[in-house]
Symmetry: C2
DNA sequence: GTGCGCAACGTGAACGTTCACGAAGAAAGC
DNA sequence: GCTTTCTTCGTGAACGTTCACGTTGCGCAC
């Protein structure tokens, strides 16, 4: 048995297998496979045919090693089942695809995982990272070494690049709307998770204090069902309620359900405002008034930042590497 | 200038940079970085510290080349903004992560892309592929060479592994429900896209014929807004309608909106049944009765199939490589 | 003091591809 | 006929890591 049989049964065929089968050299196979010049049309076709017969596909490792490709980015998100994140992921994938990059997606919400686990899984696979990393951005950067990170919603300790949201502005906008509608007893349904999620709650509290508003706060895990249960429990208490600002649209959708189940009319009895502006808001009844984010622009911005960081056009942790985006009030039916 | 300066400014640091800076050999750095035996604790820590200072991270290409890792799978889906697909993607990512695999996600719905473009982008990056490939499964297999593909919803020309859905069964279940409710004028809102999507429509037609039912069919692009417009236009026509079966839940949600806008009570005037069983169905009003799929089990099954194909435990295109899953009627409020 | 074993560390080879260069042969110009 | 040019193809080296060895030095038993 020769060390390299003409048609290896196991393991992937290599370029040398194809070369041997075609009676040419490595380089000629390379020329044929990559549509390079310096090869006759006849040879090109013959080699391609033989390659296909052998099921040969070039090793991405060997190719990447010699070419030094930088084309894989990681995307770390907490929960693909919360519609906000696929909407965001979709725009990241679109922007990355336009640049010829691949996106390795890691959803760290399963089980007890956190962003650091996701970073650890992605670190050996990618050239850069985009993600909701919260407090773990620093540790993630250590894992990534010199490869850039664009962190979302990390205004405290921004990563090399960062995209944050002006929650103070959003909170003012939301409360203003509720007050303008005549709401007197306003509550904020927060996310029960700390970390990344804390910014919204404190911004709303601050905005309420600024206006001299008494603000009731309660919290739930960030899902529709949990929000529904939390609102039901809240309504069972004595508290008055005629205006409700909610951590995100998904939870707001759950809140709507609970209010309706409790016989409260929305927006007649209780006005509800969500946050994020996901398409779901237009499908629920009543349609959700929300503090909307242009999610496609968020993804584009993140990938654009990353491109700048990778090329060196943008300095890490500089003024132009930290973006602050604003929500916009989209008035529909719920408030 | 020596060919390898102690602290290279540009380009990633290599194992040799670390070795030189620490005054040890490659192999010792390897031992330190990978927590191997045969190294003193003092040296291990010193090397790790120096590696961190240099921002060294091992090249995935070199590592993959020598270790022959098979840990990246591609996931090709048409549209991340349709909630069905992230729900599916989430379960694939979860199952893949549990096996230590990474998932490269490609969303080919942007612009004019199709599944073949996605396969072409993914082919150089992954060791296997899961996806909604439709007619392109054969062409995709050519790009993947010997690497296995698990295709979804491709009963005609199954890939190496395939997961299909028993639409005949689902259609009978749905129509049965509508008839049992007393519906006489039943329509099916189909997806305007051919290819992958055609199976549902023909199954519903067949099931209707089987029952001797007259079935009205109309179609729209598979999004909530398009479905809403299509239903509005349909209602503006003369046709009677008291039962509506819809291609998927997202479109059904749009249909609900249109029916309500036209003053039709659901389910009083028109009963509506969706398909897929995505969480959205519980958030709309009335809550959507649907032909539900256990999406987590679909992802698990796909990854399990892939694992079998990769390990050789499952033969491509064999009886055990083609799974047929059944929908289940989940009765909520809309029918 | 000789031999042995073990811990700690180093070196050649290999993974599969592309790049840079070189060589052979044919066609073309004079 | 000779050189030149162009097309077609082949060969050494390199990418950065791990694997399988080999080597050194030290302690210890006899």
């Amino acid at each position: 048995m020769s060390p390299r049989s003409p048609e290896p049964r196991q393991g992937r065929a290599t370029i040398l297998d194809v070369a041997a089968a075609a009676g040419v050299s490595r380089q000629t196979v390379t020329r044929a496979m990559n549509d390079m010049t310096g090869i006759s049309q006849a040879t090109r076709e013959r080699v391609q045919r033989i390659a296909a017969e052998l099921g040969y596909t070039p090793s991405r490792f060997a190719k990447g090693l010699v070419q030094g490709a930088r084309t894989s980015i990681g995307l770390a998100i907490p929960d693909l089942t919360n519609p906000y994140f696929p909407a965001f992921a979709s725009s990241v994938v679109e922007a990355a695809t336009a640049r010829g990059w691949n996106v390795v997606v890691d959803d760290y919400g399963h089980g007890t995982g956190n962003a650091l686990d996701a970073a650890a899984r992605l670190a050996p696979q990618v050239d850069a990272l985009i993600g909701y990393l919260g407090d773990h951005a620093v540790a993630a950067q250590a894992m990534l070494g010199r490869r850039p990170i664009v962190g979302l919603d990390d205004p405290q300790a921004p990563a090399a690049g960062s995209i944050s949201f002006d929650y103070a502005y959003a909170a003012r906008l939301g409360l203003e709307r509720l007050v303008a509608r005549g709401c007197r007893s306003i509550a904020f349904l927060d996310s029960g998770q700390g970390g990344i999620a804390a910014g919204r709650g404190s911004a709303v509290s601050a905005a309420a204090a600024e206006r001299g508003l008494q603000l009731l706060k309660f919290a739930a895990e960030p899902s529709a069902v949990h929000a529904r249960e939390a609102v039901t429990a809240f309504l069972a208490g004595k508290a008055e309620l005629d205006g409700l600002l909610v951590f995100n649209d998904l939870m707001a959708a759950g809140a709507l359900k609970a209010l309706q189940a409790a016989g409260r009319n929305v927006p007649g009895d209780v006005a509800v405002i969500g946050m994020d502006g996901i398409p779901l808001g237009e499908l629920v009844s009543p349609e959700l008034t929300t503090l909307s984010l242009d999610l496609r622009s968020v993804g584009r911005a993140a990938v654009g930042l990353l491109e700048g960081l990778l090329s060196g056009a943008i300095e890490p942790r500089a003024s132009d590497s930290a973006l602050l985006l604003r929500h916009e009030l989209v008035v529909r039916q719920s408030a």
